[in-house]
């Protein structure tokens, strides 16, 4: 072992992540190498100091936090109703999607085209309750990964990502009217009208209000339903610079994990093997 390997071993030993044999080997080496023995002492002291670090909590922080919470109750996840997806839905949706136009997101990142509204929208432009996150600046951007959160959104000029718990095949389809949006949402068993229980707007009805006739007079949506690929849970992690989803690879009986609505322009073109590239917004 060279010194570098012993250094790695020291670090692992500090965290209790070394085997008994490795520890023994380290101890033997420390007994005969003053340099490493010195480093070991310093690393131990350093680690102890880090673990003992403390800070001063600002006054009134808890009050600040509590005062900003929305007054009404957090929305019960609407997706629970569809947690048990039914096979007939898959067939129905599959049939509908087969009939829709399938587009490829071309090399132009969706939403980055010139005719997207200039200047990113601020997060406040989007509904901020029910787990929505507004993150905007004109290119499709991915929101933070909350694997426990059933619903959150990211937005570019007019796009959202919302986790769904429904079995759906991967697909991309173009929506260019309120009717097509309603049809699409109903396939996910999302009602566009208000929640009869609470009278509050469902996520779907909020979407319908946002993408209304005015929007469709000049815009189109790409509705993208994708799944988290096995082995790549970081699919939509903010830290990923680029996410590529090859839609054709996923078996039909897997659950969809993401519904993304993205404003698209005419640069979309049909391809036999649709792929989707979601590129993190450039912050420079």
């Amino acid at each position: 072992m060279n010194h570098e390997q012993y250094e790695l071993l020291m670090s692992a030993a500090l965290d209790g992540e070394s085997t008994a044999e490795e520890r023994r080997e380290l101890e033997l080496h420390l007994a005969v190498c003053p340099e490493c023995a010195d480093l070991w002492k310093r690393l131990c002291a350093q680690s102890a100091a880090l673990r003992a670090m403390d800070c001063q909590l600002p006054d009134g922080l808890k009050e600040r936090i509590m005062s900003q919470l929305p007054a009404r109750k957090p929305r019960r996840s609407p997706w629970k109703r569809w947690a048990a997806a039914c096979a007939c839905l898959v067939i129905a949706v599959g049939a509908v999607f087969a009939g829709s136009r399938i587009w490829q997101a071309g090399s132009a990142a969706p939403g980055s085209s010139a005719d997207s509204p200039a200047g990113g929208s601020s997060p406040q432009a989007y509904p901020s309750e029910n787990g929505w996150e507004g993150v905007a600046d004109g290119t499709l951007k991915l929101g933070p990964q909350f694997d426990q959160c059933p619903a959150y959104a990211f937005s570019s000029a007019a796009s959202f990502c919302y986790r769904v718990d429904t079995a759906l095949p991967d697909s991309v389809c173009i929506l260019d009217s309120t009717e097509s949006l309603d049809t699409f949402l109903s396939q996910l068993q999302l009602s566009s009208s208000s929640d009869p229980d609470s009278g509050e707007d469902t996520w779907a009805s909020q979407l319908s209000q946002l993408y209304d006739a005015d929007y469709f007079s000049s815009g189109r949506l790409a509705a993208i339903v994708i799944k988290e690929a096995a082995g790549t849970p970081q699919l939509l992690d903010l830290t990923a610079a680029e996410v590529q989803v090859s839609l054709s690879r996923f078996p039909e009986d897997e659950r969809a994990d993401w519904l993304i609505l993205a404003t698209v322009d005419g640069s979309f073109s049909a391809q036999d093997d649709p792929t989707l590239t979601l590129i993190e917004a450039d912050n420079s």
Binding site: Q46, L50, G131, P144, Q148
Partner: protein, 203 residues
């Protein structure tokens, strides 16, 4: 706080119980704030991030399935939110106002230590905090998750999207980088043990 009690708080908070949520905030605001503070080196930003983290928690609670612990979830949220802020504001690491009182480390009074030992301890803590602030973002993140938040290599790997082996080597490199910055702070020469003769005098 006992885990059982916390589960109950979460359950109640999910249903909109503000008091239950406030109890969770009381329990977790300091670890979250501290993590943000050491990542951002700015108390105002850290407070903003803390606020944002708990707002996100409030909104996301209905979907919390309890499969991972609340702490891991919070630390991941904090890391994400802080890094997001850094990215948006393009703060460079090391952009640290050393005069800022709020960044001074707290060293709890320890009656068993002499005032001199207290001072030395505070100086050491201060040096460590400064050095941590100067580390690269990647090194700082991983070291904070390990040493401040006490997460395992596996948990850290999940948050940073790295496999545990990469976490292991990155932590080692972070420690070495920190040690380099702290050369002289822990050196035996600064301690009383000296082979040069004479008794160990407090300097």
């Amino acid at each position: 706080m006992f885990p059982i009690e916390e589960k109950e708080l979460i359950q109640r908070a999910r249903q909109g119980d503000h008091a239950a949520f406030e109890a969770l905030v009381g329990r977790w605001q300091k670890p979250v704030y501290h993590q943000a503070l050491r990542l951002l080196n700015d108390p105002e930003d850290a407070a903003d991030v803390t606020q944002e983290v708990f707002l996100k928690l409030w909104r996301a609670l209905p979907g919390f399935r309890g499969e991972s612990s609340l702490s891991t979830w919070l630390y991941r949220l904090t890391d994400n939110t802080a890094i997001d802020l850094l990215r948006r504001e393009k703060k460079r690491h090391g952009d640290l106002s050393l005069d800022d009182e709020n960044l001074a480390v707290c060293v709890p009074a320890d009656p068993s230590c002499s005032p001199q030992e207290q001072t030395e301890r505070r100086e050491v803590q201060s040096a460590v905090a400064d050095a941590l602030a100067q580390l690269s973002q990647e090194h700082r993140r991983v070291l904070i998750l390990r040493e401040l938040n006490g997460l395992s290599y596996e948990e850290i790997g999940q948050i940073l999207v790295l496999n545990p082996g990469t976490v292991k080597s990155r932590i080692a490199r972070a420690r070495l980088a920190l040690a380099k910055l702290l050369e002289g702070t822990f050196s035996p020469a600064s301690a009383s043990k000296s082979t040069k003769g004479g008794d160990g005098h407090e300097s």
